[in-house]
Homo-oligomer: 303 residues x 2
DNA sequence: CGAGCAATTGACCATAGTCAAGACTAGTGG
DNA sequence: CCACTAGTCTTGACTATGGTCAATTGCTCG
């Protein structure tokens, strides 16, 4: 599985990653920090300084909570990133999504009182914890909190919908293209570069998230790279041709239709193409992808 | 695709049953009806009688709201059922989920102020509408409302997660088995029979929801029927062997492991077992569906 | 009754899952 | 410091699964 980094005491069990430091650590954080994190104006609910919140710290591969546990808190990512996973009865680990700064975790368990999925840190992370039992009084005492929580949960719901949209695509390359664009948007939303970023999750996690085999993720990455959309070095991704990537991502069914349309359209315009990296022509093995090659070539993305 | 049915202006299409009646119709409904629908005790917030709510009526195939529209209300299904759909840029219609009585719709648009997906009635339906601008004051004035809304939105989020779990399965039969079980649970939750029910959506919708071709849904239904799990007559479904169905549904990867495990297990309790006889030292590379047949046979599900 | 859509089934073959092997990296302990 | 393990990542080969096209049947509703 994943390389286990025990964060504190040597626990003899290698399978379990959670040491003592994953328990709550109370630091001088308060509700006002949360309101700020969620984008509230600086001084709304100034009394919110007086409501202390726990800041939870996690090391890589440590679980924030496990599937099936009672829900005591909902969490907001303060730094770092996590994945949400559900383990099927047969032991298969399905990745439901990834969370970064500002994202809400654990809310899906509120209705049943139990977490339907686990959350695991992809890197060292810190999270603000709000006890569910406090939710009611918080909404009463701090008028800004209710709408912000609503907004956050609504955003989660929207994100999940988009995740479903990823899986709708039939072809693996399209799924991956959509995934890359999704990550790119998120990075931008967090103030980072949308063009070049570092993936925090391994191929297996991406594969599970996209519903394909991890070998297929590898292959699809090289495909996208060959077409001149991306440059990939392990987890480092650079988007070279966002337009082409978008085009690929926008085709749910196959690659064929797009390639034809695109090739036809671009046969008219045809600007001078910039050269990314001229690689020896690889023989495309299938009819469908042959089209993409032509499309890409006619776009000037590949010389 | 689906015939687009505008629910406002009289469209000249004679074949379609949707006319003016899909616009808002204010009937004597109030917040107390909503609280009741969501499972609150009968007399909490008795003043809620005084807060009127719009009841929206939809005919089959009419849209509750369209993707991209401004969010004015969130809705709670009072009767009937709907599907949530997202139309990709290439025109492909992706079904995100289905909603029945008590389910919340439109909440995912609250964060951005625009609906990220459409909602379309699968049959004549009625919905209670709550204007988003009222949410804040409602939560202030009616203490029971906030938690109920929270619970409803949390449930939606959980459901979405389960939907993602459907797509995780590689084999089409497994996806369909999970879908059927999901529907069964929902029917039961709504007080109907979990064993025998009527699907409100067509094969295409199921297919889109599961991320497979609609022909594959047909084939998978006949497969499950052949294995003795189900009886299917068009949209009428009867579960014959829930245990086997569960078994099939619980295998994310292939059908292989399950069939073997199951055959082995039942070989113990069933001394006649000739099933797990001389298994070749190495598992046959892809045993395929033959295994299921044997497993089913050894279970006595198929004569 | 006919038009149109839903559902099923068959044939074909491209895509992607599976197994296998090798390259590379990071963490561990001698 | 260097193996040594254990993980990730990539690539190749093979083939089952499922997407696509096509034809048929059945259902519903004018």
């Amino acid at each position: 599985m994943y390389s286990i980094v025990t964060d504190t005491v040597a626990d003899a069990m290698p399978g379990r990653a959670n040491g003592l430091q994953d328990v709550n650590i109370h630091l001088p954080y308060s509700l006002s920090d949360l309101l700020g994190l969620l984008g509230a104006a600086p001084h709304v609910d100034s009394a919110s300084n007086g409501f202390p919140l726990a800041m939870r710290q996690l090391r890589t591969d440590a679980a924030l909570f496990h599937e099936g546990e009672m829900v005591e808190c909902i969490y907001f990512v303060y730094s770092g990133s996590l994945k949400r996973v559900r383990t099927a009865e047969d032991g298969y680990e399905q990745v439901l999504g990834f969370a970064g700064r500002g994202d809400l975790l654990g809310y899906d368990g509120v209705c049943m009182g139990r977490h339907p999925s686990s959350a695991v840190a992809l890197e060292d992370a810190r999270l603000l914890a709000v006890q569910t039992q406090d939710l009611r009084s918080l909404m009463g005492s701090f008028p800004a909190f209710g709408p912000l929580l609503q907004k956050a949960s609504s955003l989660e719901l929207q994100r999940q919908g988009e995740s479903l949209g990823l899986m709708a695509a039939v072809s693996a390359e399209v799924r991956l293209a959509r995934f890359v664009l999704q990550m790119s948007e998120r990075m931008q939303a967090m103030g980072q570069s949308a063009r070049r970023f570092h993936l925090r999750m391994c191929r297996r996690d991406i594969a599970s998230y996209l519903g394909v085999a991890h070998e297929t993720v590898s292959r699809s990455f090289t495909m996208l790279a060959d077409w001149g959309c991306l440059q990939v070095d392990n987890r480092e991704v650079e988007i070279l041709d966002a337009a082409l990537l978008q085009q690929i991502a926008s085709n749910t069914r196959g690659l064929l239709d797009m390639a034809l349309d695109r090739a036809r359209a671009s046969a008219v315009e045809r600007p001078q193409g910039r050269v990314s990296d001229s690689r020896p022509a690889r023989r495309p093995r299938t009819a469908g992808r042959e089209q993409i090659w032509r499309a890409a070539a006619s776009l000037g993305s590949v010389s």
